[in-house]
């Protein structure tokens, strides 16, 4: 996609070319492309680790890796997928789309934009280099619970600093989006006219700014506990191991919504386009998103119902947790109402958006079940939880990213992607992701704990099914990479509007859009 819009860029011939163009770029589209490419690379790195996990769990008994390495796989798979794949993908989408959607020439803080991207390769080099260190890569789980994480070998400070750098990058990205939307909207583009993708991203940006420093604080306390003799989380020194979990999840739950609110925005852009009908209940969608964001700060302890909280605490967190079902339900109902009496077609982005709605809702249902404290005493830390969060993160967040890529690729590259292959990719992904994750509900209910490298033969059947689904889902994603590369290289020319039912400022620009999106602000009526 890079070459194509560079070709359209007559008045920027003085910009460096080759590698230096990408290193020094301050352009929102270039940086969006960098984020998205990095995210795709990390998706395959994290995916390769998932393949190792599923290969080891294919049969009972240990066949391929020792338990310590297995724990490193689950730990680093999670960190790479969360901080390396899903979050950068959404920042990349925001970089590309937010200025075009609000009628701005670029992001408000372009140099910071460059820096916030270029921190990421360094953060992940630090993190992945730990595989070659004495003691191996971190293996205490991505949640880094004290005191277990203290047993990490030489990798420990690298883990902490990698998390710090990822956090700095995210916070800068969030500041940039807020600054852009608050200051650079075209005349007449009032807040209640913003596309929902922009709305969900502003709210996400505030969540990032509020929660990432909390994570940074938590891991800094781990660092001082390890190297400077403090005892924040060590019971022997008068500290409290449970306090780490409270602080971590005060970050961790908003983090969950950081990864799903922009997905809501993507789906809210795609469904009306292919239903050829305006989004139903725009303002209620905005309020529902804001309610979810608010609630995300008062539900954190549902991740730790089994630590032994007082009854009143357990009741409070149970009630607030199940309450999230209300605004989330409103969103799903609004999407269905948008489709109702529309004139629908089912191109690949729409297929992924519909897949998102169904399978994210399944993840929402299991989330409701997990929120009911007494039942959670059985579900907690089993494969039921693994199934739940992969439904919301893979068939939720990742499916929405796929939908967004297919939806906007023609705008970015000026070429239509291969529709037949896109549909094939959708159906392969949807079938195999369910073969992969649905049986994990059964495993959890039958009593299989998560994060174990080996299991009793009673769990063998569903694990084998799940692994087969996993391998096939993994292979299917190579098709996605192929489709994207093919589309960047060429294909049928895309019009400005691309999709018959598309509305919004980004569709008034040519495909691919000019280097500086809107040099004269459009007027929004």
């Amino acid at each position: 996609m890079s070459q194509s819009h560079a070709a359209h860029d007559e008045h920027h011939d003085h910009a460096p070319s080759g590698l230096m163009r990408w290193v020094t770029t301050t352009n929102h589209k270039d940086i969006g492309t960098l984020y998205l490419s990095f995210s795709l690379l990390m998706f395959f790195v994290g995916g390769a680790m998932a393949m190792v996990i599923r290969a080891e769990l294919f049969q009972p008994g240990l066949q391929f890796v020792d338990p310590q390495f297995f724990n490193s796989m689950t730990t680093i798979h999670a960190l790479v997928m969360i901080f390396g794949a899903v979050m950068p993908a959404f920042v990349g989408l925001a970089n590309w789309m937010v200025p075009m959607m609000i009628g701005a020439p670029d992001m408000a803080l372009p140099r910071m934009n460059n820096w916030s991207f270029w921190l990421l390769p360094f953060a992940f080099t630090l993190l992945l280099s730990t595989f070659f260190m004495p003691g191996g890569a971190p293996a205490g789980g991505w949640t880094m619970y004290a005191p277990l994480v203290m047993q990490t070998g030489d990798a420990f400070p690298f883990l902490i600093f990698a998390v710090h750098i990822m956090g700095i990058s995210s916070i800068m990205g969030a500041i940039n989006i807020i600054a852009t939307v608050f200051n650079m909207r075209a005349p007449g583009m009032t807040f209640m006219k913003l596309p929902l993708f922009v709305w969900t991203w502003i709210i996400t940006a505030f969540l990032l700014i509020a929660s990432m420093p909390v994570l940074a604080g938590a891991v800094t306390m781990l660092l001082t506990d390890k190297f400077f003799g403090t005892s924040f989380f060590s019971a022997a020194g008068g500290g409290d191991p449970v306090m780490f979990q409270h602080i971590f999840w005060f970050f961790g739950h908003p983090e969950v919504y950081i990864m799903i609110l922009p997905a809501f925005g993507v789906v809210s852009a795609i469904v009306p386009t292919f239903a050829r009908k305006p989004l139903f209940g725009y303002s209620s969608m905005v309020y529902a998103t804001a309610s979810i964001a608010f609630l995300s700060f008062i539900v954190w302890a549902h991740h730790m119902f089994t630590v032994g909280m007082p009854l009143a605490g357990e009741l409070f967190f149970m009630y607030t947790t199940v309450l999230i079902a209300v605004p989330t339900g409103v969103k799903v109902f609004n999407w269905v109402a948008t489709m109702w009496k529309g004139s629908m077609t089912f191109e690949t982005p729409m297929l992924f958006a519909l897949g998102f709605i169904v399978m994210f809702t399944i993840g929402g249902f299991s989330g409701l079940m997990l929120g009911v404290t007494p039942a959670d005493f059985q579900y907690h830390d089993t494969y039921f939880v693994v199934a739940h969060f992969h439904y919301v993160l893979v068939t939720g967040a990742v499916f929405s990213i796929m939908a967004a890529a297919y939806f906007w690729l023609p705008k970015w590259t000026g070429h239509m992607y291969d529709e037949k292959l896109g549909k094939l990719h959708f159906w392969l992904s949807t079938i195999f992701v369910n073969v992969l994750f649905f049986p994990q509900h059964f495993l959890g209910l039958a009593g299989m704990p998560r994060r174990i490298p080996d299991y009793n033969v009673q769990f063998a059947d569903w694990n084998m099914v799940s692994s087969i689904g996993g391998f096939l889902f993994g292979i299917s994603q190579l098709l996605f990479a192929y489709i994207v590369i093919k589309c960047v290289r060429g294909g049928q020319k895309a019009t400005s509007q691309v999709w018959e039912g598309a509305h919004g400022l980004e569709w008034t620009l040519p495909s691919p859009p000019p280097y500086h999106s809107f040099t004269t602000p459009p007027v929004v009526k």
């Binding site: 619970y145 089993t382 059964f442």
Partner: protein
Amino acid sequence: MIRRIQHRGFVAAFAALCALLWPFGAAADWTLNMRQGVTSISQEVYGLHMIILWVCVVIGIIVFGAMFWSILHHRKSKGVQAAHFHENTLVEIVWTLIPFGILIFLAVPATKALINIENTGNADLTIKVTGYQWKWRYEYIDEGVSFFSTLESKSNEARHLKSGIDVATIDNYLLDVDNPVVVPVGKKIRFLTTANDVIHAWWVPDLGWKRDAIPGFINESWARVEKAGVYRGQCAELCGKDHGFMPIVVVAKEEADYRKWVEDQKAAQAAALQADNPDREWAMEELMAKGESVYNANCVACHQADGKGMAGVKPIAGSPVATGDVADHIDVVMFGRTGTAMAAFSQLGDADIAAVITYQRNSFGNAAGDLVQPSTIKNEYR
């Protein structure tokens, strides 16, 4: 009765779904659902689980039904013209209030169940459960009985990478222990959970709950087992390398059998205490023989059978600690090394500690030649 019908419906619904997902079908023994368990708590939790599940299934059928109806009928290919409505405040209010009502309907039984689960008073007996990397210790507070419970040896041999043993031939692979925790049927048992090193979680699905075992904390839970039998579970909180290999076995016995078991335990412990008398002089051979078994029960998982350690674990073979000053060696074994995986082992008996140190100093090519008397441990380190 209702429960059984619910269960059958659940199986049918999911069997249909699985048949779609997996053409080879869902054989009857492929477990799908939560077990009902053998305590009033587990049955209450199971009932709650089924209620929420059915609420979700019904909502799912309605919402997805409407969606798929729309997908089938409101298509451009059928020549449908799109309507233009996009707002209706009344509808928004209705579909905010209905889910809210459903949540209140769910919250009532959930609150009742939670209050019951947290009521740990009036227990008939108390068992303290302590998590270690990677075993459990059980202490019967009122009886003075205590013991460690570790993975049973056949599973332990088979679980290693390329062990060459077919795990399907082992009964209760990874779910069996050397010393199960024995409880009386029909009595309210209070479990106190805590941990020695990192956080663990004690979970037996048939009891209906799990509870974290956290260093520095003592958590309370309770169970009244209604049926004699053997109930198996596992550690449920990631606790390091061998997290998957520290199972839990609860054996529920009738009161009389339970009493007999307690008396047998007391007698066995008294005899062991006699044999391990720390005040007498121990011979080298005795210490070496005992040390080997203590090593194999406590050290081998990390330091390995050849004493050479593994990634992140220091070797004992040729190490400065095991060949240098004996006081340092005792210090490491008894109190651990903070910030590393080396835990404190002061919970072991005097003779065990003395024996294992003697064994380590004179095995794996180490030839310190010295021995540690149990009396040294007792008199100088306790």
